[in-house]
Amino acid sequence: MLRSLFIIFFYQLLGEAIQKIFEINIPGPVIGLILLLLSFIFFSKKLTQSKKIIKEISVTSNQIINYLSLLFVPIGVGVVMHINYLGDNLFKIFSIIIIGTLATLVFTAFVMEKIINLEKKNGKRR
């Protein structure tokens, strides 16, 4: 548990450092995610010891991810407390968010499912 927490924190720290040094537009934790993923792919074939560590991290990270929703509550409360910032545009902005988000969701899922099915068909023919 402690070892996996250390590794996760360490990769975030690494991500934050890289973000600051190279002034990249991607947040540190996302860079940390990419680095951790690359390390897994790289090390999993090299060492037998690393399989054990990956398994250990997997237990810890699944526990954190289970409560992913909880972690958005503090910032969400901030949104409610500052909702007046949207001012006169409140109704318009809400309408755009609702229409835009749902349209994007359906459009993306629709396109992706079509391509997946197309791939499947092509795969069968081969």
Binding site: I8, I34, L71, L105
Partner: protein, 241 residues
């Protein structure tokens, strides 16, 4: 009278402690999560939305400032970073499935992200919003820190972008399932991917709680769309403004 006075003193002491606000947040989330599970994971009973409503009503009722609340809640907020890094594990575990669907993944990013940006732009124009507000809204489908960065870069208002981004996440997470069902999208990979692309972390949390494959594709889409949106927004606004 003396007893009330003592109670008041205890209250004044407790509400100044970060512990009080952490406990309140956890308690509100437990209520939200209980109702979510009780409703058999009905997306409308979104645990994030419920906990946010409980906590905000209590803050408003007791006249507590957000800064005071966040003094405690920041310890929960802090875990967002490590949790993002931790998403590497489910992605790694499902790597074979991701490699298998690599073509649909790349295509969907290249089609979905411009769609997300353009629909926000045209809806903004349709509703007659100012250019500044439209720019503020354009990166709203990606995770808040990226969205704020883009907003600053293109001349939007970052703090407003953060608010709009979070609302986008909650709307996608709570209403997305219905529209996907109406349009009869069955593939868990496609559904999850759309959640991550259109409503970032909050959508990913919803997908994760429902189905592991959907969750992994959501996490992947969230990361990819963060990167792709930064690039596409800059290209698109060159043509539009």
């Amino acid at each position: 009278m003396a007893k009330e006075d003592k109670l008041y003193k205890i209250w004044v002491y407790l509400q100044a402690e970060p512990l009080f606000w952490i406990t309140l947040t956890l308690g509100a989330y437990l209520v939200g999560d209980y109702l979510y599970k009780k409703s058999k994971l009905n997306p409308l009973v979104n645990p994030v939305a419920i906990s946010i409503l409980i906590v905000s009503s209590i803050l408003l009722f007791l006249d507590i400032s957000y800064d005071r609340y966040f003094d405690g809640a920041k310890f929960i907020h802090f875990m967002l970073g490590p949790a993002t890094v931790a998403l590497a594990i489910p992605i790694y575990e499902k790597r074979n499935l991701i490699i298998k669907e690599i073509k649909p993944i790349i295509f969907s990013i290249f089609i979905g992200i411009p769609f997300a940006i353009l629909i926000t732009f045209y809806l903004g124009k349709f509703f007659g919003l100012s250019d500044e507000i439209i720019l503020t809204m354009m990166p709203r489908n990606v995770t808040a820190p990226i969205a704020m960065g883009i907003s600053e870069l293109i001349g939007g208002i970052p703090s407003l972008t953060a608010i709009i981004t979070i609302i986008t996440g909650i709307i996608g997470a709570s209403l997305g399932t219905f529209v996907l069902n109406i349009f009869k999208i069955k593939s868990m990979s496609a559904r999850g991917f759309a959640f991550g692309l259109a409503s970032h972390g909050i959508g990913t949390a919803r997908a994760m709680s429902k189905n592991k494959t959907a969750g992994v594709f959501a996490a992947l889409a969230m990361g990819l769309s963060g990167i792709a949106t930064s690039v596409f927004v800059l290209i698109i606004i060159k043509f539009l403004f």
